[in-house]
Amino acid sequence: MTFAPDRFSSRRDSLAFIVCLLLSVAARVAPPAVQDTVSRAVSGTALAPFLAVQHQVELIKASRTRVTALSVLRDSALVSAFTAQALREENERLREILQLTARLPVRHVAAEVLHQSGPASGLMVVLSAGSGDGVVERAPVVVAGGLVGVVHSVTPRSSVALLWTHPDFRVSAMTLDGSAFGIVAPRRAEGPNVMMLELSGVPYQERVPIGTTIYTSGLGGARGVYPRGIPIGQIVAVGEEQEGWSRTYVVQPAVHPAAVSHVVVLIGPAIDLREAFTEPVP
């Protein structure tokens, strides 16, 4: 490393810049398999210690939250209303996860969400569980409220999950009674904090009432990606219509990924999970 007081761009600087640009473009257009290999290699080696630090801090934070919550219960007058509220919410989330794991009739792994800070971090997240914990690619990621996403790639100690906000996300969906089926995909954002889903391909003659909760359909059977019965969200409006053919419905997601700190990764066969989930909160 050298520091030059007069460091206007020289030919060597331009060359380094162009080489880096070309490598970036090559990485961008490389086949997904190559991209995954490089990504896994970097996060499994050079980044592993940093992710381990982040995981430990997440665990410390969760433990601290529980301990502090006990203190709050013992002597709530000493804690401000705002802090108590935040702790209650965190505790509630952890309790929901614990209740969910007790109800789930399928093998699963609990994991912390290691949020990153890049502009694309709302589309994919790092999870603290990896292949060493039994996590496999295409395993559904859920919380007590419903579906969060699906595992995209795995390293021995961590994995990357593709969230429902990702434009490539698709899941087959249905109403609880199975009267209507369709495909759920992300819809355009309607505000900085308002990301919606849409249920498309519902036959025109089948009307889905506003307020209906939709679930994963489990099409594909035990070998499919998503088991039947994971809440996806609630119908809030009728979207576009193809006269005489099909309707699209706007769906308010059951889970907002930015608020998720702990998840459960389902690693067993895709069996019916309708009874394991509570109704999603709109």
């Binding site: 490393m1 050298t2 520091f3 460091r7 206007f8 761009s9 020289s10 060597r12 600087d13 060359l15 380094a16 880096c20 640009l21 490598l23 970036s24 473009v25 090559a26 990485a27 961008r28 257009v29 490389a30 991209q35 490089v38 990504s39 896994r40 970097v42 996060s43 980044l47 940093f50 992710l51 630090v53 982040q54 801090v57 997440e58 934070k61 949020h115 990153q116 800070s117 890049g118 502009p119 694309a120 971090s121 709302g122 589309l123 994919m124 997240v125 790092v126 995209h152 790639s153 906000t165 990702h166 434009p167 355009r188 954002a189 309607e190 505000g191 900085p192 990301m195 930015a258 700190s261």
Partner: protein
């Protein structure tokens, strides 16, 4: 302070920022608005590095970012390379050594990085991208700039950067 010890101290500050990025992440709240310490480390480095070195550093930071969130692999490398290069070149050509100018430099660098990642990645629906750029990215750029100013103030004796207020 001789040149070699300046370099060591700069490396310590940069490493500290990288470690803090992972260690403090759980406490920094919403990822869309929290400061990006990896990018800040790149920008602090770019202030005194040659454009070529900053481009290489940007490429490596981009590789890290893309490996953590491989939504559009390569877009982060491209964006950080361009930001690193432009930051080092721009600081040499245009910018005075001033705290407020440095804050603006961190703000613009962060926003530009987000813009380039989103454009090169093309992984967001248009409306989500627009909200990201007009709402979340400026907030992130602001928090990053504030932390950047704090870092410059805290380590003003360590960093080989002149800061006249």
């Amino acid at each position: 302070m001789n040149g070699r010890s300046e370099q060591y101290r700069l490396v310590v500050v940069l490493l500290l920022l990288v470690v803090l990025q992972f260690a403090l992440r759980p406490f920094l709240g919403d990822f869309r608005s929290s400061p990006d310490l990896l990018l800040l480390a790149l920008l602090v480095y770019a202030i005194r590095a040659r454009p070529g070195q900053a481009a290489v550093a940007g490429f490596l930071v981009g590789l890290v970012v893309d490996s953590l969130t491989p939504v559009a692999f390569g877009a982060g490398m491209l964006a950080h390379t361009v930001v690193g290069y432009l930051a080092a070149w721009g600081k040499a050509v245009f910018f005075a050594e001033n705290l407020i100018v440095n804050a603006g430099f961190f703000f613009v660098g962060t926003w530009l990085r987000d813009l380039l990642v989103l454009v090169a990645g093309r992984h967001m629906v248009q409306s989500a991208m627009a909200w990201q750029l007009v709402f979340w990215s400026p907030i992130k750029a602001l928090t990053t700039a504030i932390v950047g100013v704090v870092v410059l103030m805290l380590f003003r004796r360590w960093l080989p950067i002149r800061i006249t207020e």
